[in-house]
């Protein structure tokens, strides 16, 4: 046997080679990631920074901005300047729209969870071959054109739509029930739009559920209901949180649904923001409104991250 001739603190040629290879690898990987990061950085992140700046500028009369610092956009969110005496008056119009959107999003999330959880659980307990079909059937609406799907809802609930025609035909009612362009229409549209967003993350969490745990619970005298509440639901918590987030965030910022089903009468945040860039011609206000929405989304994401990182600690 040869004894070691090298002092252990002296890095070997191989160690130097490895260090160089690691460095070269990091350089290469950075380079590979660069195109994607540049595109998103320039055309995705930079625009967000621009609206941050815009929100502190003054509005130009025909859309766009004037390069003059102003906090009007944020003041206008809650107050309106009186034309005559220049005092600020509290006007909660925007705040109401935000609160209403929040309420829509919360109700959507809850109902989607109530419908989505049993569906996802049912899917996860099917034999594998059937399961694939169920997943495909839920995946298709997930990726289908939201505008078209919203249109489909509109056709059904219009005054001369399928529901009213059927009820009239049956003689249940004698004049059509107005459903389109109501809060009900928006709520229905949101549910319809985002239900698949709840089912899929729930399913992927329930699919991994170890069903021997359920057997163990029954073995330990749990009833069906207890098994559901004490075993299944706690174990699928990550999926529930992910699903709620995936429904809540897009529902809060929904644009297409209230646009088509609310008919410009019942606004949500999304339409409000878009209006400032269209007929409202107040870009800074629109930017401020967008940033306030973004802040709400970040709060939701923060809770998500806190919840999931807590999960990691549990193991």
């Amino acid at each position: 046997m040869t004894t070691a001739t090298l002092s252990p603190t002296m890095p070997s040629k191989a160690a130097l080679f490895e260090a160089q290879a690691v460095k070269a690898g990091a350089r290469r990987n950075r380079l590979l990631s660069l195109p994607a990061l540049l595109i998103i950085g320039i055309f995705g992140v930079l625009p967000l920074l621009i609206i941050c700046v815009y929100s502190f500028l003054a509005a130009a009369p025909y859309g766009g901005v004037q390069w003059r610092f102003s906090t009007d956009a944020y003041l206008n969110f809650l107050f309106q300047r009186d034309i005559f005496d220049d005092t600020l008056q509290f006007t909660p119009d925007f705040l109401i729209i935000y609160l209403r959107s929040f309420l829509f999003a919360v109700v959507t999330t809850i109902i989607c969870l109530l419908l989505g959880f049993p569906t996802a659980y049912f899917m996860a307990t099917r034999p594998p071959a059937q399961r694939n079909w169920w997943v495909l059937l839920i995946t298709i609406p997930f990726w289908s054109n939201l505008l078209v799907r919203t249109l489909a809802i509109m056709f059904i609930i219009r005054d001369e739509g399928l529901i009213n025609n059927a009820l009239l035909g049956l003689g249940v009612i004698d004049k059509p029930i107005t459903m389109l362009y109501t809060n009900f229409a928006i709520q229905l549209g949101l549910l319809y739009a985002f239900l698949p967003f709840m089912v899929l993350p729930l399913y992927s969490s329930l699919e991994k559920l170890d069903f021997r745990l359920i057997e163990a619970a029954y073995d330990l005298y749990a009833t069906r209901r207890q098994v559901l509440w004490r075993v299944i639901i706690p174990l699928s918590k990550p999926g529930i949180i992910a699903g709620c987030l995936l429904v809540f965030i897009p529902a809060l910022g929904a644009y297409v649904t209230p646009l088509i089903l609310g008919g410009g009468v019942h606004l949500m945040i999304g339409d409000l923001i878009a209006q400032q860039f269209g007929s409202g011609r107040n870009w800074p206000l629109g930017c401020a409104q967008a940033l306030i929405l973004m802040a709400a989304v970040l709060v939701a994401l923060f809770f998500y991250v806190r919840n999931t990182s807590g999960k990691v600690q549990h193991g």
């Binding site: 070691a4 090298l6 191989a14 160690a15 080679f17 290879a21 690898g25 350089r27 290469r28």
Partner: protein, 406 residues
Amino acid sequence: MGIALKKRVAAPQLPSRPAYGDNQTGTHLPPRAGSLNGVIVPEQPGKNAIEVRGVRKVFGTGENQVAALDTVSVSIRENEFFTLLGPSGCGKTTLLRLIAGFDFPSAGEIMLHGQDIAPLPPFKRPVNTVFQSYALFPHMTVAQNIGFGLEMLGKPKGEIEARVAQMLKLVKMEALKARRTSQISGGQQQRVALARALAPQPKVLLLDEPLSALDYKLRKEMQIELKRLQHETGITFIFVTHDQEEALTMSDRIAVMSAGKILQVGTPRDIYDRPAERFVADFIGETNFLAGTVVSKKPGVATVKFDSNATVAAGYPEGFDPTGEVTLVVRPEHADLVPDPAKGTIAGTLSNIVYFGTDTHYHVRLDGGENFIVRHQNSRSSPVTYETGAEVGIQFEEGAARVLKD
């Protein structure tokens, strides 16, 4: 069979720049004298195929540093079936990966026929690996898998085909050459993995627990098959396993490893009959440990006295000077029971008799309180039968007792 890698070289070649990792642009070292497509060709075939010199491998940084290999040195001879044996986490796979080039030593050298290959990327080492998971390319056929190495070496098409055909024959897989690797059984995948690694005629073949995924019967078959392949190809095999029986039956020499160190290197008989340390004795086979005191010694043999005042002559490892309290090791089959306690070297009470078919294990509680197992081969005419609870003596065969280093 010697077609390819046997060009003689003037001097050891190192790559002009360590290009692993950023070589993705396709820059490829031009073949030079002494390299074939950048794969180095060793100079003078010496006696040792691989020499590992003072190799350390540290993973992690700062406080999380773990030494997977702690200054290991070992020489592996040409045409040898060499086994690295040890429990999981002992560093045997790390050592194999260092030789293959998937990891690089933190210190030390790995010499292949006298040239340091430690700073070379794997694709420049004339060393091939059979992976534990086989790692067959799923998008290629059996034949394409086997030909892959030769193709990467830039061999002409005709030569590749001939060699692939030869390898298919060697591992008896001719009939399945057009199959996808997912369409063949585990044992067949194993053969393809072997053929693929042997096809480029490496100087050294590394085998990382290649039989662990096979069932018992197939494993036994492949053990014989591996020995045959090694014999037929004349390639040095470095075999990693945690299975002591596999190591004993297949190897020319074994290195027993534990906690990042090589404890003992020797032939299977050396390792089994003359273990140097407690770990080696304990890890391989069943063993009895006895405490005693050295009373006198002459070269190679010490006289050890037990508490019962009986003495026994025991060999001890080379380069070790036994004094005072020592531990002795006696294999169960190197001892025998005698009905008269006074006639044995040591004595005790039979506490349990376990019948194993081919042999019987007698568990004896010694007068000093330790347990001692005697293995007795069963035959038609066992002269004496023993009963649990009987007082018995234990006789050691000549040279059965060995002093351990620790």
